[in-house]
């Protein structure tokens, strides 16, 4: 199990180094003539006012939280899916109830208008 992941560690390091080398090599090759105008924040030629923070809508958070809850729900289904061939028939009922409750949660969000982006 752990040895299976060894290659992934090596791959992670290799890919990271390769990308780092690419950026570093480019930094040696490319011209470098900074000027105040180039270093400005791009805003279609307007002077930037204030920092990058703008009033974000709560809708973003609500979508993220629905996603998080469905994500963990989905993760719990994976061990069951692997065990599907060895579980008895009533297990299907248990998981159907599980999915039904998740569906209820989705329907609640729907009825509250939380899925509406406007």
């Amino acid at each position: 199990m752990r040895t299976d992941f060894a290659f992934i560690g090596v791959m992670l390091v290799t890919a990271f180094l390769l990308m780092g080398v690419a950026v570093f090599a480019a930094s040696l090759l490319r011209p470098r003539k900074p000027s105040p105008a180039k270093l400005e924040t791009y805003e279609c030629g307007m002077e930037t006012v204030g920092d990058a923070w703008v009033q974000f809508r709560v809708q973003y958070y609500i979508f993220a939280l629905i996603f998080v809850l469905f994500d963990v729900g989905g993760v719990l289904l994976f061990p069951f899916a692997v065990a599907f061939n060895v579980v008895p028939l009533y297990a299907v009922l248990v998981v159907t109830v599980f999915l039904g409750i998740l569906m209820t949660a989705l329907l609640y969000a729907w009825r509250r208008g939380a899925l509406q982006w406007d």
């Binding site: 709560v58 958070y61 939280l65 998080v68 809850l69 994500d71 963990v72 729900g73 993760v75 719990l76 061990p79």
Partner: protein
């Protein structure tokens, strides 16, 4: 075969992570930073559960099952806690728990 890593190494790392989270919960001035501390503590708990599963009872599903449930609990905690903080922020323009001492708006 853990190639020479004794169980108590994991337990000590998990205890240290738990205490770092505890410090964050006790000392931070921002409620979202406090929730980050709670997430660290939940992670420490999960390391413990999986370490005991691995060393003490790898044939039982108990450690794995509890670790999986902790994932869900962490997600639910984060979702509700942060939603509360956002709501509090919109009502009081602050997420400093020291200032949230009144029950009324």
């Amino acid at each position: 075969m853990l190639n020479g890593i004794p169980l108590y190494w994991f337990l000590l790392v998990s205890a240290a992570l738990f205490c770092i989270g505890l410090y964050g919960v006790l000392a931070r001035k921002n409620a979202i930073a406090i929730l980050m501390g709670v997430e660290l503590m939940l992670n420490a708990v999960n390391i413990n559960l999986l370490a005991f599963w691995r060393y003490v009872a790898p044939n039982a599903a108990a450690g794995l099952a509890f670790a999986a449930f902790i994932f869900v609990i962490a997600a639910a905690e984060a979702a509700i806690g942060l939603a509360l903080m956002i709501s509090v922020y919109r009502n009081t323009q602050s997420v400093d728990p020291d200032k949230l001492d009144s029950m009324k708006l």
